[in-house]
Symmetry: C2
Subunit: 201 residues, 2 copies
């Protein structure tokens, strides 16, 4: 019978599903396409997942969990200044786009295809991630690193970062490190990062 466990097989299938969801979109991806990509028949798919919705939820959960743990780890292992923490968060965020790009694209584009219960479960995860951001931005505001409305600044920054999935090319010359620097230089021009940049160019 079908299970809700976390078998390694299921994780691999989730990874493949994420790729197809990005290529085709959730609604256009049929269970037959998913099965073929996985090397099994469409019926066998429902041994691993209750229904198609559950595959989508699994993809998004996987990606968000990873982003959350990477961000937490980055915050723990960086210097304690507001600037260092802001930079660590931006860099962590961009690095997950390298390693988990598919899952994040799905989370951004197909969120609304989740049913009500998956959505409420996953929105807690997402809230936890965004809370990390708001806290780091609060610290930056208090330190006078940046200024402006707390709510608006965090939304603008999240927007700029999330939008990167649209244009960022991991094969290109720009590394996540560079993007993080440039973003912080843009919103906090009085930092070391900004000065290093503006004299270099």
């Amino acid at each position: 019978m079908n299970v809700v466990n976390e078998s390694p097989r299921r994780k691999e299938l989730t990874r493949l599903a994420a790729q197809l969801f990005v290529q085709e979109g959730f609604d256009r991806t049929t269970v037959r396409m998913l099965a073929q990509e996985m090397g099994i028949k469409s019926g066998s798919l429902f041994h691993h997942f209750r229904d198609k919705q559950e595959i989508l939820a699994a993809v998004i959960e996987e990606g968000t969990q990873n982003a959350l743990s990477i961000a937490r780890q980055a915050l723990e292992s960086c210097e304690d200044s507001a600037e260092a923490r802001l930079h660590a968060m931006a860099r962590a965020h961009l690095e997950t786009l390298l390693t988990d790009r598919n899952a994040h694209v799905v989370a951004l584009y197909e969120w609304r295809r989740l049913d009500a219960e998956s959505r409420s479960h996953l929105s807690h995860l997402r809230d936890a991630y965004e809370a990390l951001w708001e806290r780091v931005i609060d610290e930056a505001l208090e330190a006078g690193l940046i200024r402006g409305d707390r709510f608006l600044v965090s939304r603008f920054v999240m927007g700029a970062l999330n939008w990167t999935v649209r244009w960022y090319d991991p094969e290109g010359p720009r590394k996540p490190e560079d993007l993080a620097h440039e973003l912080i230089a843009m919103i906090a021009p009085s930092t070391h990062a900004a000065q290093a940049r503006s004299t270099k160019v």
Copy 2:
């Protein structure tokens, strides 16, 4: 027979379609749902549009055309300083989200469901709009209003602005004017806008 004209009836139907596409997503919206919303039977729909794809293209074209003409008008009727032009663009962008929100959400989320020919036609329109942005940002860079990499700054700004469709509440206290001010204050802290803000708060 079905036509490709621009009858007022077709425009009204396009507006209704945009709303449904936002609520349900393009793939989940059936021609029967569209017809019901329009008060006709599903077969009658194909008198106005060749196929379902064409409805999507019509929605996106309408929204992009409006954004483009509003932006051009804003640039023509504003002061000639780099700061004024940047502000005019940001404000125009946010105001189209008020008046044409549905169409823009569709353009952002359902772009990939366009077939090849619609996509190539519409991407010219979108490029024209983004070119306006790049030019204004170039001017701001030259004027020393902001600093940083031309490519990255424009992507970050577009990201922050486009992301607003996710959280912006037109009924709330913040007006497009305010958002535009705040965004510019964030990326160009030495402007009048920034000083007015930071002393006021």
